[in-house]
């Protein structure tokens, strides 16, 4: 039950290995890794801004509610902030439950939340300057599926 915001890169495989260790009563672990995506030639870096003390608290609050709703045994959320190179892992979510359905749904729900409702601000830097990215209609409707 940990949320971590970090400027340093992370290795999703190592996070998943660590998360799976010592679980004798867990039947299912689901993980999701989001990579910083860039259209070729148009984006050189992504920049993620958070509100320290608020962003982490809001994510923990939502994850705790999801944990109760989907009967999770454990969860882990790691999110990069600062400058992120295209292709680097930007977000990692893992959920552990007795059975797979709950683990899948909780991970899906948490990612929909992180994408459009968690307090982050995302900017693309490219050869033509920078622009702020706001959630798409699809992001908003994906998140609303869980309301």
């Amino acid at each position: 039950m940990v949320v971590r915001l970090q400027t340093e890169p992370f290795e999703p495989g190592a996070l998943l290995t660590g998360f799976c260790e010592g679980r004798t009563e867990t039947g299912a672990v689901v993980s999701f890794t989001g990579l910083a995506r860039a259209s070729a030639g148009s984006v050189t870096t992504l920049e993620l801004e958070a509100y320290p003390g608020f962003t982490d608290a809001e994510i923990a609050r939502i994850a705790e509610a999801a944990s109760a709703r989907f009967a999770l045994q454990d969860w882990l959320i790691v999110h990069r902030i600062g400058q992120i190179a295209p292709g680097a892992a930007i977000v990692f979510v893992a959920t552990a439950a007795s059975h797979r359905r709950e683990a899948f749904e909780a991970a899906d729900h948490l990612m929909d939340y992180l994408k459009s409702r968690a307090p982050f601000w995302k900017r693309e830097h490219g050869p033509d300057g920078s622009r702020w990215i706001e959630p798409t209609e699809r992001d908003v409707s994906d998140a609303a599926r869980w309301d």
Partner: protein, 81 residues
């Protein structure tokens, strides 16, 4: 005093991310008026669609009194992962 924090495109528009207002406005509404007067370029942006205010790290709708030392953050639409 009251501390004001701007995030995302709001900070770009204003050209700053953090300001201390002294004397402190007594309410959130008064603080908004003060920002609009001092930074006219923020007037439209602060009232824009999806812009929320947080007082002491709690999202706030409507007006409320600001205690000394309050931290007021203006948050444009959010996008992560």
């Amino acid at each position: 005093v009251v501390r004001v924090l701007l995030f995302g495109r709001l900070a770009d528009i204003a050209g700053w991310r953090e300001r201390v207002l002294e004397p402190a406005p007594a309410t959130l509404a008064a603080l908004r008026e003060r920002l609009k007067a001092d930074f006219p370029e923020l007037t439209e942006a602060l009232g824009g669609r999806g812009v929320q205010a947080a007082v002491n790290k709690v999202i706030t709708r409507g007006d409320l009194a600001l205690a000394a030392g309050a931290e007021v953050a203006f948050l444009p639409p959010m996008s992560g992962g």
